[in-house]
């Protein structure tokens, strides 16, 4: 009898030992961090205010566009160009939020695919038949297409103004701007009328829950939208030559730097949890990491990531306003900026997500 008890105790002990060694990697255990507080801060203080601001800037752009098209003179063109730049800067604060309605509509693809295709744009203008939401026209719409319409239609301002005597050009510009505003209004409206609650209440740790999805979006945007598109591709990191025409705002020629600085600031603010257009901060990746008290090489991961963003920002400061010019005159500086941006990818994509037990659903596909 005693033997039996001993045996069964032993067996139970073994079972416990077994199951204990088995339960790693299930990925759904809660670490106790209040994800809902973070999601609420994201939605109410960062995402929705940024979309509101973008929508309002696009409404201004729309008004200025109507004024310009009614009276196409240089004064009105300058006002319109300034509104375009303001909206484009604000855009840098929302591109990473590819979730909900934005994801459903492929919103980002309709707003900021560059280089824009002059062939497609001219073809649209000539035929007058186009559905701007058609995925085949992603390279003929959004901010880069407006960049071309405001700066690239001719070689100087006088000639650009003249091109607007052509009603088809005027119509295309008008349609582009209206489309951008209307898409943004749809996305914003979805956030404010229902998606916000869905978003903040999805607190689990599964592939489809809010934190996991937005973390993936954030890192994907950082890696692709910011690091690769703005720096790596023009600098020739993925090719044998550099591409001076694959920079953001190629036709304007003076603002690729300022747009990239806004983008990095948006990334860092989101990481730290700073409310849009303020200096107040709330729950975020940063506080999540502090909560987990993650240590990497004896240093604080949150600090490492922030420092790396700061180093990258320092590199961007040294670049020409015109990245096209930078690539041609001193590409090494572009490469060095890329390298500093890349260093944060590893910290975010490996260290941060491991600490948070979030799986990354994309890899930097460069295999065979």
């Amino acid at each position: 009898m005693i033997k039996k008890i001993v045996l069964s105790v032993f067996a139970i002990a073994l079972m416990v030992a077994c199951s204990k060694s088995d339960d790693s990697g299930s990925g759904s255990q809660s670490d106790g961090f209040d994800r809902q507080a973070m999601l609420t801060n994201w939605a109410d203080n960062i995402i929705i205010p940024a979309f509101q601001d973008l929508n309002s800037k696009l409404l201004t752009l729309k008004t200025d566009k109507d004024t310009f098209l009614a009276t196409p003179n240089l004064t009105n063109l300058d006002v319109l160009r300034a509104s375009w730049l303001e909206a484009y800067k604000t855009w840098q604060y929302v591109e990473m939020f590819d979730i909900g309605k934005a994801e459903e509509l492929n919103y980002a693809d309709q707003m900021n695919i560059y280089p824009t295709s002059v062939t497609l744009i001219q073809n649209n203008i000539t035929t007058g038949e186009y559905d701007l939401s058609n995925p085949n026209l992603n390279a003929a719409v959004g901010f880069p297409a407006v960049d071309y319409m405001l700066y690239g239609l001719a070689n100087n301002n006088t000639d650009i103004l003249t091109t607007y005597n052509n009603a088809a050009n005027a119509q295309y510009l008008s349609d582009l701007v209206d489309q951008m505003q209307s898409l943004t209004a749809i996305v914003l409206n979805d956030w404010t009328t229902g998606y916000r609650n869905v978003f903040v209440n999805s607190t689990a740790n599964t592939a489809t829950s809010s934190t996991n999805k937005l973390t993936n979006d954030f890192i994907y945007y950082y890696e692709k939208g910011l690091r690769a598109n703005k720096f790596g591709i023009p600098a020739g990191v993925f090719s044998t030559t550099t591409f001076n025409d694959k920079v953001e705002a190629f036709y304007n020629k003076e603002v690729s730097k300022v747009l990239s600085q806004e983008a990095l600031k948006a990334v860092q603010n989101f990481f730290v949890g700073i409310s849009y257009n303020t200096s107040v901060n709330g729950d975020s990746f940063s506080s999540y990491l502090n909560y987990l008290n993650t240590i990497k090489n004896g240093e604080d991961l949150n600090e490492l990531i922030n420092n790396q963003f700061n180093i990258a920002e320092g590199k961007i400061q040294q670049l020409d306003n015109n990245f096209s010019q930078q690539v041609e005159t001193d590409n090494t500086k572009m490469l060095q900026t890329y390298d500093e941006l890349q260093k944060a990818v590893v910290l975010l994509k490996v260290d941060m997500v491991q600490a948070m037990n979030i799986s990354v659903d994309f890899i930097d596909a460069d295999g065979d």
Partner: protein
């Protein structure tokens, strides 16, 4: 008695079920090194490294083309940075391929993913060598080389004619031996055997649950390991049982080390580690996998080191004999292997045995003035001693 037998049975069955799930606390190693590099799932082979075989074949054609003086720089560049569909190679399958060599030079995750600056500088070295060959060596193909002037030189006793640049460098050797480091070694040691690649994304979860890549028979992790394997054995007729000497790159020079009594056994050590590491992935034992990766890192790093010393010493002998053509040939091979040292990898470390800066110092010394025309035996000995010491072998052993 029966009860005891029963309890032993129960205990042993629990122990068995326990240890089969466990990856770190094995009292004894349960995974055996397979006899061949063959792995299957549901009756289909899970081993695939066609991208690596393709690049080895491309590199082979490129290094041959560097010895054909009618080729233009554009043709050579086309072979180095092939674009899918371009008619760059003699083999149609290579022309159709979307693979290329250049993008994989100095392109490992561990060393270069956040060092595009250095990656670009290294790629440019290859570009410059190729340009030098096309523009300066080919155009002086029939002139006799002198210090400071490209041309040809014949080895003593009516031997092979060597075609060299102004510094006495035989450029096809720089490219070929440079690729052993910059392409093969770097991709194997610092990319595909790295946990940062093997464990990327959901690779561990997928491998644990045998989730295969869409449309393939292998898991992502298995495939990454096979891609490392492919850069060494991809040109073998039957890579499941390699015979070595199958290409003129890493495979060939691992064979050369094997043939040297001082290093004999290295080929089997490397092959066993590849097999056992792959079996460990199948068995989900990632500690065992990484232990095998460390064995591979140490031994494959040695290939460049031993051959660098070997050729510097052989070059020194020929210089003493006054056989400049032979000396320059040997030294050019040595140059390429020294260049390759920056891509080596110390086991259990994130560092190479020699940094880029250290390698570039050696290259600068060898290139100074008229390059090989006025290099001294002292310089060659000094570099040889440095390399041998850091890798813990003797200069004599490498001879």
């Amino acid at each position: 008695m029966k009860k005891i037998a029963l309890s032993l049975l129960v205990i042993s069955s629990f122990l068995t079920s326990c240890s089969s799930d466990d990856d770190s606390n094995n009292l004894e190693q349960q995974i055996e090194t397979p006899a061949t590099y063959s792995f299957e799932r549901d009756g289909a082979s899970t081993v695939d490294f066609n991208g690596q075989s393709t690049r080895i074949a491309m590199a082979g054609e490129l290094t041959s083309a560097l010895k054909i003086e009618t080729n233009t720089e554009a043709q050579l560049d086309g072979m180095f940075a092939h674009v899918e569909g371009n008619d760059d190679f003699s083999e149609a399958s290579l022309n159709a391929s979307d693979k290329d060599i250049r993008s994989k030079v100095a392109a490992s995750r561990d060393y270069f993913s956040s060092n595009a600056t250095l990656s670009n500088a290294i790629k440019s070295d290859f570009d410059l060598w190729i340009a030098d060959q096309a523009n300066n060596v080919f155009s002086n193909w029939n002139t006799i080389a002198t210090a400071g002037n490209a041309g040809q030189l014949q080895q003593a006793g009516g031997g092979a004619v060597r075609y060299i640049n102004a510094k006495g460098f035989e450029i096809n050797q720089l490219v070929a031996k440079g690729l052993i480091g910059g392409l093969m070694t770097d991709q194997i040691l610092n990319n595909y055997l790295s946990p940062s690649v093997l464990d990327e994304g959901s690779n561990i979860e997928d491998n644990n649950s045998d989730v295969v890549v869409t449309g393939k028979s292998y898991t992502n992790m298995e495939h990454k390991w096979d891609e490392a394997f492919g850069y060494l054995y991809g040109a073998e007729l039957d890579a499941s049982m390699p015979v070595l000497g199958a290409d003129s790159f890493l495979n060939e020079y691992l064979d050369r080390l094997e043939a040297d009594d001082d290093f004999a056994g290295i080929a089997q050590t490397v092959f066993n580690a590849f097999k056992l590491g792959r079996a460990a992935i199948v068995a989900k034992d990632y500690d065992l996998r990484d232990a095998q990766a460390n064995i591979i890192k140490e031994n494959l790093s040695k290939v460049s080191a031993v051959r660098a010393v070997h050729y510097l010493q052989a070059g020194k002998v020929k210089l003493n004999e006054g056989d400049m053509a032979s000396a320059f040939h040997q030294l050019s091979e040595g140059f390429g292997f020294i260049y390759s040292l920056q891509f080596t990898r110390q086991p259990n470390s994130s560092n190479p045995y020699f940094t880029n800066a250290e390698v570039m110092d050696y290259i600068a010394e060898l290139s100074e003035g008229n390059g090989f025309w006025d290099v001294t035996p002292e310089t060659l000995d000094m570099i040889s001693e440095d390399i041998a010491a850091r890798f813990n072998f003797t200069v004599e052993a490498a001879n």
